[in-house]
């Protein structure tokens, strides 16, 4: 994403989430979102198949188990 795309995404999604970005926070948010975008480029750069499962697997909970 170029800086304009990052700014557009950040502003649009912040509005969607009702997450106000104060003017003094916005430059830092853009900087860190650009860093996340760099990380995403690395993550998305590895070709994985539809059969590659995510790391997390849900475990059903039996009624007899204490769980909280």
């Amino acid at each position: 994403m170029n800086p304009e795309q990052i700014a557009a995404h950040v502003d649009a999604l912040a509005a969607t989430l009702a997450l106000p970005l104060a003017p003094e926070h916005r430059p830092g948010v853009l900087r860190y979102f650009a860093l996340a975008d760099e990380m995403a480029a690395l993550v998305n750069g590895l070709s994985l198949s539809v059969h590659d499962e995510p790391a997390e697997a849900f475990v059903p909970i039996a009624a007899s188990e204490r769980h909280e």
């Binding site: 860190y32 188990e65 204490r66």
Partner: protein
């Protein structure tokens, strides 16, 4: 007597209390006095639980005086310890390094790991400074002030469990508990020159502690020897169904196995990314350990930078989602050093995180293949030794990196796949500071990592001297 004993290892303290050479109360007093004398410099503690510590110690002394055999057998009898302030302590608000949690109701009970340490005879003396909500590698906490490195107070202690590591290096306590999501036990262990254990993901229950990233959070101990680390780890093992990630496994004590040392273990040195992202001193620390182990074959994991990126995205997105409501309502109350990162994390697309979770499993499978061929992997723990407080940048082989997120460059890929790691400190490769190595084992083989740490300690290659503060 008790002052000198406090600076010994936990096993020696417990033995002296057991033998009646010193009371548990005197040891607790010595710990409280050293905290009083040194914490103005170190700033490791946010709360000192003196009343509770003395009451616990006196209760132990009364049971010892009554000749209670069960009490006398406790492995950590009278040993002072402290915990990162994200652990629940009965009667105290769990701050997790934040301003936002202040004023919330106090915890109704100790977290399970505290209960287990106390059941083993240990005595809690306080709660400790950390990066806010565990999102940082330096413990430059703007609300509490930075924790300073006991070996050079101008430098950071590392984070996010910086108070816990610094207190052990400062001789305030021989044991502490912290958490590690991306390196928060191993980074401060490296920078403060102590031992730290990040157990296998799912080994220890995390209920009773403030979460950061549920899919990556681990809890674990700090100590000044591999033996103490194993004693503490053995005391806190056990399943708890209240943590859905905690795996039901039998207790697998490591301390009785330490004397096996390297016997039968295949050890190799991780290279590639772990060489490229390590500075000169980090490389020298690994070389020294490799030499002590008789020279090690070099092996590589594939796509480590992508695995680190996966950990970064998962942490950024999950951590932000956890705090979304506060980020909406009161962003000004967040730690300024991590607030903008949290805000950015709230905006990460779901597809990136799902791909990161898939990549994480792919990388875990590659690591499993490698760990069929070797039992233990050696890698540097941090790219550099402790930077000065306030540093914005670190230099790794002539390349400039943002200091605060980059201290975890070498730890993130390993916690991403939940492998157990013992961080062990090497001295003499930097003019004045320690730097750690990671001793990485296969899942559920904490004993292998601890055995190598113990063997290296016996050989004098890794050690954790107490800082000369007073």
């Amino acid at each position: 007597m008790s002052e000198a004993l406090l600076l010994q290892n936990a096993g020696s303290i417990a033995a002296a209390v057991r033998a009646g050479e010193v009371s548990a109360e005197a040891v607790a007093q010595a710990s409280l006095a050293r905290i009083e004398a040194t914490d103005g410099t170190v700033n490791a503690f946010t709360e000192v639980t003196a009343t509770r510590a003395l009451a616990t110690a006196r209760s132990l002394d009364a049971r010892i005086a009554a000749g209670d055999a069960g009490t006398l057998a406790l492995p950590l009898l009278g040993v002072p310890y402290a915990v990162k302030n994200l652990f629940d302590i009965e009667g105290l608000t769990t701050l997790a390094g934040s301003r936002i949690e202040r004023g919330k109701p106090p915890a109704k009970a100790d977290g399970p790991l505290l209960k287990r340490l106390e059941a083993a005879g240990a005595v809690l003396v306080g709660a400790q400074n950390m990066d806010e909500y565990a999102y940082g590698f330096t413990t430059e906490n703007s609300h509490e002030g930075p924790t300073r490195n006991p070996h050079d107070p101008a430098r950071v202690a590392g984070g996010s469990s910086g108070g816990s590591a610094a207190s052990v290096a400062a001789g305030q306590v021989p044991l502490a508990l912290g958490s590690d999501t991306n390196g928060s036990i191993r980074v401060p262990s490296s920078l403060c020159g102590i031992f730290g254990l990040k157990p296998t993901y799912g080994r220890l229950p995390r209920n009773g502690s403030y979460p950061f990233v549920a899919s990556l959070d681990h809890l674990g101990p700090f100590a000044r020897s591999a033996q103490d680390l194993a004693l503490a780890y053995d005391a806190i093992q056990g399943h708890d169904a209240a943590d859905p990630a905690c795996v039901r496994r039998p207790l697998e004590p490591a301390a009785p196995l330490l004397s096996l040392g390297r016997r039968g273990l295949r050890v190799a040195q991780l290279t590639g990314y772990f060489h490229d992202m390590a500075g000169r001193e980090a490389r020298a620390a690994v070389a020294r350990v490799a030499e002590a182990l008789g020279g090690l074959p070099k092996v590589e994991l594939p796509e480590v930078a992508r695995a680190r990126a996966a950990a970064f995205l998962i942490s950024n997105a999950e951590g932000a989602a956890l705090h979304l409501e506060d980020l909406r309502r009161r962003p000004q109350d967040f730690e300024p050093l991590s607030r903008d990162r949290f805000l950015a994390g709230a905006l990460i697309p779901a597809a990136w995180v799902i791909q990161a979770q898939k990549l994480r499993r792919w990388f875990a499978l590659r690591a499993a293949e490698l760990l069929r061929e070797v039992d233990v992997l050696i890698a540097p723990a941090t790219p550099v030794a402790a930077p000065d407080i306030g540093s914005e940048w670190i230099d790794i082989n002539g390349q400039r990196f943002a200091a605060r997120p980059s201290l975890g460059l070498l730890t993130q890929p390993i916690s991403c796949i939940g492998l157990p790691v013992c961080a062990a400190p090497v001295w003499g490769v930097h003019p004045s500071m320690p730097i750690g190595v990671q001793i990485i084992a296969a899942p559920w083989r904490e004993d292998h990592a601890l055995r190598i740490a113990h063997a290296l300690e016996q050989a004098g290659v890794v050690q954790a001297p107490i800082a000369r503060l007073v």
